[in-house]
Amino acid sequence: MVSLSSDLTKYSLNTSDDVLSLRGWLPVDAVVVDGRPGLRWMDLADVQFSEPFFSQTIKRAITAKPDRGQRFTEFDALLQVEKVVESVAPTGFIFHSSRCGSTLVANTCKALSGSIVISEATAIDKLIARFITDTSVGDLREKLYSVFLRSLVRVLGQQRAGDEQHLFVKFSCCSVVQLERIRRIWPEVPWLFMYRDPVETIVSNLTTVPEWLADEDNRVLGALAGTTSVEVSKMSREELCARTLGNFYSTVESLASDNCMLLNYNQLSLAVILQIIRFFRVELEANEVATITATSKLYSKDVSSGQNFIPDSISKRTQASNLVRQMAAEWCAGPYNALEAKRALVNRES
């Protein structure tokens, strides 16, 4: 976590007016100020989440208005604020194994009228990481962070325009290892897991290294890879990525049930995207189908440019080194095949 003591001071919610004053503000990051962990809030009452990622929206909001209000509170402020805002209950959750088309699905959800899509919000990711670094199974802090996470989603899903009906949360890939805890908080919410051939996924992650793969906290990396922090310190990046993907596949395979949908990148098509929306129990209007049709042709991580999506499976496979292939075979093949088998079973039931 980043310490921001120089530019943020603690904002205490002593009166009901203090609490009400945070309506329309959203937690944009989990930070530590003067040694106290908590949240950085930003006045986003006038901002729509139109970008593929939450962080891109925040960047735009700050660029447009550099003096935008910001405050720091401890986590418990969430419990006060959630009681004074009208929120949309989660419609569906999107989990993924990284670089597998999940952003396209999130963008599709944005095309639905009255939808809020929270895509990889930093505060959510960091709060979920606290399950790894700051709790033990069954202790009070585990429950506390679960309550904070639920409140955080409620606050992020607040109705700011007034006509919002659907809330979709796309979690970062690292959240997969906390899937069981997340499911326990929201057992009824349908969830999608997207994944892709491991060789293609590893190549993509090694070509453009994501933050999670470069994390310096070996406790987090160990949890992601399903091993110890000591083991992680001895691994090549290829092995770390492969073991993490293998752990994601195994985790999902063991938890997949009747209210989940498993989707391989190689299945992606307009028809399947529409099927996902129906799986989330949303009825589509004709104009929404037209927007989704257009969205699904665009490169998902930069919809503003109008750049079309180009399938890249063959080029990814061609780029794969021997070590990548070896690690994928050793750590991913078994869990991936098991997940594929589960997909056939789960999707038939749902």
């Binding site: 919610l13 418990d76 006060q80």
Partner: protein, 88 residues
Amino acid sequence: MNASNLVPGKHVVVTDFDGGEGIMVDLNTKKYFQLNETAMLVWKGLESGKSVEQIVDDVTLTYEVEPEHAAKSVRRVVENFQSYKLFE
């Protein structure tokens, strides 16, 4: 027990979790408490202005226990709340 002394503090936030259980936060001391189902029933009852006797009735009905047993449980929970200064 005098019900007029048992007004839940404004500095206390309670939220439900895991079925009937809950988490309580004392915003003054930053202490967190895990409440079991009975404690949640008592706190929610007090929040809605019920008397201790009414809450005892609720506990008796909800858990199908003897009124004496319910009264003892409720009293113990209230004393715990008092000891942590969770009332106004």
